[in-house]
Subunit: 159 residues, 2 copies
């Protein structure tokens, strides 16, 4: 059940990326990558320990965190006490929904900034006013793009 050198390399590489994009601890990010790069049969707790070379307690904590965040899921087999972990089937949709939430946040922030500047720094705002507007329009287009994509994915996954 050990990993090919190629997979090990990807786990580290994409792991670093996921630390920032998903705001996860290094170990959690690596586990998440393993789940995404693994077949539907999933991995057991022990396999994850071996692949990550991390301790039992750390694996337990981070697995439970990922479960709670809905990034991974597990299934069991009859007459087998072990849990088999894999990426949540909805993980890309969940990712997009997280993006949607943060875009909405960002739109609010931009609105607060432009509102403040247009009332308290009006002479500054007059000169640069168009740029914040273009920025906001960009954010709104992106929000639409996200909503449409989420809708399309829902359509596929609910059929």
């Amino acid at each position: 059940m050990s990993c090919s050198p190629e997979k090990i390399k990807l786990i580290e590489e994409i792991g670093v990326h996921f630390e920032k994009t998903h705001q996860l601890a290094p170990l959690a990010a690596r586990i998440y990558v393993i789940m995404i790069l693994s077949p539907k049969e999933g991995h057991t707790f022990d396999e994850i320990m071996t692949i990550t070379e991390a301790s039992k307690s750390s694996v337990s904590t981070q697995l439970n965190l990922l479960l709670q965040l809905n990034k991974i899921e597990y299934f069991t087999k009859p007459g087998d006490r072990k849990r088999y972990f894999r990426g949540n089937k909805m993980y890309l949709k969940n990712t997009l929904e997280t993006y949607l939430a943060s875009i909405s946040e960002e739109i609010k922030v931009v609105e607060k900034i432009t509102e403040f500047n247009s009332t308290y720094n009006s002479e500054k705002y007059k000169k640069t006013g168009e740029v914040p507007l273009l920025f906001k329009e960009y954010l709104l287009r992106q929000k639409e793009n996200l909503k449409n994509t989420i809708a399309k994915i829902s359509e596929i996954q609910n059929k």
Copy 2:
């Protein structure tokens, strides 16, 4: 030169947001917000110390970091040794360019994941293949959206 309660509230509120979205230390994030919410005349080193209630050394370090990151700039007045700090006129454009870089990164990551899964987990990939494709299309549309917005902003700012 002290701040209105409204501005103080915004500095903290948007500051927390900027810590994550711009990957800045708390103090750096707050200084950046101050710059964005301030008139074109900018603020001096001492004013920033008073508003943030931070030490000289911390303000110095974080100001230089923000300058290096091109998020803020300063100007001087003849016969006045002080520097006047303000948000970089290009800060929204710079923000979008950072977004563009990370989108391009993300596209690469998604490509690596789908490539790996389609060769090593082909049976898994067959069932979920459409979703990663939609995801990638979403990223490409977003990249276009970003590039167009950056172009529009450049047009305004270079005129």
